[in-house]
């Protein structure tokens, strides 16, 4: 019985720990790339305990931007968002760490930069509601889809 309880507790601990180790997709958007803030933004992630497990600079085609933001296609800002996201290169990354999705969202700050907490990425580097410096996945389901959208498994590295 004692042995069983111990095994059960170890299993519970392992599952609990595994649930917190996550990956999320981050995009440094064309406005922040243009402003030469790539290093500063990446440093916020690293100092926030997130490791860079994949990274590449790319420029989205019209089609890629439309597909990536497909869930917003009926929204009034969709056309502007696609135009902005294809206006220059961006840096796409996989961030790896404990509670990476929530941690990344905390480091980014609110979507509307005017509402972003002081010292968050958006408070410091965003120019407007659309040109808001960074994108981050909002759930485990989106993280999985968004990571697969940009990276093949062999482009993501164990850290």
């Amino acid at each position: 019985m004692k042995q069983f309880v111990l095994t059960f507790l170890i299993a519970l601990f392992t599952v609990g720990t595994a649930a917190h180790a996550e990956q999320t997709l981050s995009i440094i958007k064309p406005d922040a790339v243009e402003a030469n803030h790539i290093g500063e933004i990446v440093a916020r992630f690293e100092k926030g305990g997130l490791k860079i497990a994949a990274m590449k600079m790319t420029k989205l085609s019209q089609q890629q931007a439309q597909d990536f933001y497909a869930e917003h296609k009926e929204r009034p800002f969709f056309a502007d968002l696609v135009t902005f996201m294809t206006s220059g290169p961006c840096v796409v990354m996989v961030l790896d760490g404990k509670d990476a999705i929530a941690q990344n969202r905390q480091l980014m700050g609110a979507t509307d930069y005017k509402k972003a907490e002081p010292c968050t990425i958006r408070a410091d580097f965003a120019c407007s509601h659309t040109k808001n410096a960074v994108h981050g996945s909002d759930s485990p389901v989106s993280a999985k889809r968004e990571i697969a959208f940009f990276f093949t498994p062999n482009e993501i590295f164990a850290r």
């Binding site: 790339v33 030469n36 790539i38 440093a43 590449k56 840096v91 482009e155």
Partner: protein, 142 residues
């Protein structure tokens, strides 16, 4: 002179999570990042990249070190990019690197020295094409 140069953030600096700190040094020095990708070099890729050193006593250790973890390869663009990058990196031996340079601040020793940068216009061209296709290098108008 408007130039491009190849930069590699080596496995030691990646392991210490200094990617952002190092990229910031380049950007603050006026160098723009026009291409970037993280890869894990194979032994063949590392040997091919450092082929010029293949008779040197440190070659084997260098190849081993460069394949211990992922690296971040970037193309930096700007006025006198090759010399500027070398200035920002500091001397190859971190003990001799000027204060405030990348190697003075982030390198362990001469073997694990955080960054690589092309040493001439000719090598920059060879090294950039070793890792990037022209379509992977982006135009930075601003």
């Amino acid at each position: 002179m408007h130039e491009r140069t190849l930069s590699i953030i080596k496995p030691d600096a990646i392991g210490k999570n200094h990617i952002g700190d190092i990229l910031s040094r380049f950007e603050k020095a006026g160098l723009k990042i026009v291409a970037a990708k993280m890869i894990h070099l194979s032994t063949e890729q590392a040997q091919g990249f450092y082929a010029v050193h293949k008779e040197r006593p440190f070659f084997k250790d260098l190849v081993t070190f460069m394949t211990t973890g992922p690296v971040l390869i970037t193309v930096l663009e700007g006025h006198n990019a090759i010399a500027k990058n070398r200035e920002v990196m500091g001397a190859t031996d971190p003990k001799k690197a000027a204060p405030g340079t990348i190697r003075a601040d982030f390198a362990h020793n001469i073997d694990e020295n955080a960054v690589h940068g092309s040493d001439s216009a000719e090598n920059a061209e060879i090294e950039i094409s070793y890792f990037f296709k022209p379509v992977e290098i982006w135009k930075r108008t601003r």
